[in-house]
Symmetry: C2
Subunit: 315 residues, 2 copies
C-alpha cells in the first residue's frame, strides 16, 4: 500500500492507494497555514489517519508520495518555490522521511496528476501527456514510461509555451502563453468579455442571473441554447486548446494525450472538434503519419492522489 498526498492552496487530500492503483481510503484537511511545522504535522497526521483507516500502521506503508504546486526539486524531494502557499520553501522529502522512517517522494502537482492518469490507462503506452485545464494549464509528460521532469525538475510546463507572441498576459510574466488562452480562467475572461459586447445575448442574461460572474460552463451552456455570442466563445476556446495540442503532438508524438480539469466534463462537445482540428493541422498529417489518441482524462480530481502515491513506483 502507498500513500498519496495532494497539496492544494486550500486543502490537502490524502489517499491510501493499493497495488492496483486504486484509492481504498481518502481523507482531507484544510491546508495548514503560517508555519512549515504546521504543514509537516498536518501531512504526517493525515497520512497516519488514512493508513489507520485502512487497517495499517504508517510503518507498514511502502512509501509516501506528495504532489505540490510550484517548483519541485524531485531528486532532493524539496519544494523550492510555491506561490500558492504561505510557506514557499519546504524540504518535505527529507523531513517527512526522517520522521516516519519511510521513503518519501515529492513531485509537482500537475506531474503527479499526469502520472496518475498514465497508470489509469487501459493500454500499455510508452509516451504520454496529460493536460489539466483549470485555473492554469497544468501538464505532465511521461516518456519511456517515466515521468519526465528535465535536469532541474521543472520540465513539462506546456502551459507556458506560446500561442500568440505579444498576446494576453500570463501569470508567468510572459505574454501569449497557452495558459493565457486555454485555462478555465481565460475561458471565463473571454465569456464575460463577450457578454459585455453582446448585452442582448443569452450569455449576458445567464451571467446577470449568476450575479455578474461567468464560470467555465457558462459559454458551453449558452451555446447549447443556440446563442451566437456564446458559440463564438466556445469555438475560439476549442481552437486555443487545439493549437496547443498540436504543439504538444508535434513535440512529443505520444500514443495518448488526455485532457482533464473541469472543462473536460464537456466530453464529446469538446473532444470531437478538438480531434478534428488537431488531425487537420498536425505536422505530417498530409503524409499519412499516424497520430496518438486525444481523449478525456479518467481519474479527474483523484489523479493527483494516485499519481503522488505512485511516484515511488515510477522512480
Amino acid at each position: 500500500m502507498y500513500i498519496g498526498i495532494d497539496i492544494g492552496g486550500t486543502g490537502i487530500k490524502a489517499g491510501l492507494v493499493d497495488e492496483n492503483y486504486n484509492i481504498v481510503v481518502k481523507d482531507s484537511i484544510p491546508t495548514p497555514k503560517e508555519t512549515y511545522e504546521n504543514m509537516l504535522n498536518g501531512i504526517i497526521g493525515l497520512a497516519e489517519k488514512v493508513a489507520f483507516a485502512g487497517g495499517l500502521k504508517l510503518s507498514e506503508i511502502e512509501s509516501i508520495g506528495i504532489g505540490c504546486p510550484g517548483s519541485v526539486d524531485d531528486k532532493k524531494g524539496i519544494v523550492t518555490y510555491s506561490n500558492n502557499l504561505d510557506v514557499p520553501y519546504m524540504p518535505l522529502g527529507p523531513d517527512i522521511s526522517e520522521r516516519t522512517g519511510l521513503p518519501v517522494y515529492v513531485g509537482n502537482d500537475a506531474n503527479c496528476a499526469a502520472l496518475g492518469e498514465f497508470f489509469a490507462l487501459d493500454e500499455d503506452v510508452e509516451n504520454f501527456v496529460a493536460i489539466t485545464l483549470g485555473t492554469g494549464v497544468g501538464s505532465g509528460v511521461v516518456i519511456n514510461k517515466k515521468l519526465y521532469t528535465g535536469f532541474n525538475g521543472a520540465a513539462g510546463e506546456l502551459g507556458h509555451t506560446l500561442l500568440a507572441m505579444n498576446g494576453e498576459p500570463c501569470t508567468c510574466g510572459r505574454n501569449g502563453c497557452w495558459e493565457a488562452y486555454a485555462s478555465a480562467t481565460a475561458l471565463i475572461r473571454d465569456t464575460e468579455c463577450a457578454a459585455k459586447e453582446n448585452p442582448d445575448s443569452v450569455l449576458s442574461k445567464m451571467i446577470a442571473e449568476n450575479g455578474g460572474k461567468a464560470n467555465g460552463k457558462t459559454a458551453f451552456d449558452a451555446a447549447e441554447q443556440g446563442d451566437a455570442a456564446a458559440k463564438t466563445v466556445v469555438d475560439n476556446y476549442i481552437r486555443y486548446i487545439a493549437e496547443g495540442l498540436i504543439n504538444v503532438i508535434n513535440t512529443f508524438q505520444p500514443e495518448v494525450v488526455v485532457i482533464g480539469g473541469g472543462v473536460s466534463r464537456q466530453g464529446d462537445n469538446l473532444i470531437i472538434p478538438l480531434r478534428e482540428h488537431v488531425k487537420k493541422y498536425v505536422y505530417g498529417s498530409l503524409e499519412g503519419v499516424p497520430i496518438g489518441d486525444v481523449r478525456i482524462a479518467k481519474l479527474g480530481n483523484d489523479a493527483g492522489i494516485v499519481g503522488a502515491a505512485l511516484l515511488g513506483v515510477n522512480k
Copy 2:
C-alpha cells in the same frame, strides 16, 4: 568504424566515423534522381568508397546509419515521406541491410544532426536539444541520452510549434510556426521586406548590390554598419529565436541547447542577446530555478554524418 550517410536534396554526403566519433574519411555524390534503385546504388557505392578509403571492406564496418529529410519510421528503417526527393518512399534500412549484410539504421536528418552534436558535447548530459536554423527550423531531442522520436518516429518537430497563431504561413500548412519566423528563409524574407520599406537604408543598398537578393548574413552585416532598419530586423529575428527557445526550455529543461545552421556563425552577436532574453522570460526565472546552457553548435555541417553513423550506437 561506422559509416554515416547524410541525404540532402542536392547531394549525399558520407563519412567513415571512428570510435571517438571523429570523421576519418568524407566523400559525397550528387543525389541520384529518378529511381529508388539509383538511390540505393548511390548510397551503397558511396559507403563502399569511404570504407575503402579508410582501408576497410564494407563487411568490416559495424553499422551504416542514414539521415534523410522527411518522415522516417526509425523502428522499421523506412523513409515514409520526403518532399525534397524524387522518390518519397524508401525502405532503405531493410534493403541496404539485405544487400550489405550490415545493420542499417535510418533517422530523420535533423534528429541525426542533434545526435551528432550530442556526442560532440564536452560534458556528460542526460537531456539535450539541438536547433538548426536553415531553410527551415530543424530540431532533435535527446532524452535520457537517447534520441527521442515518439511512437511514430515524428516527434521533435519543434520548428512546427507556434510563435504566433494566425501568423506567417508555414510550409507545414499551419500559420505562425516558429519555422515561419526563425528560419533563415524567414530572416531573408524579413530582410528584403525591410529593405523595400526603407529604400535609403544601407540594407537596401547592400541588397541592390547583390542583384536584389538578401541572404542570411545581410541584415547582420548592415546592422554592424549601424543601419537602423537592419538593426530592427536583427533584433526581431533574435527575439523570434528566443521565444521559441523559451518554449523549448519550458518543455524539456535540457542541460544544453545548441543552435546550428548558417545563422549560428554570428556567434556571440546571436548567443549573448538570446541568452539574456531567455533568462528573463523562462518559466520559474523569478524563483531561481537554474536553466540549461544555450550555445552555438560545434560540428556544423558534419553533425548529420556523425549523428547518422551513431544511430546504431544510440539504439
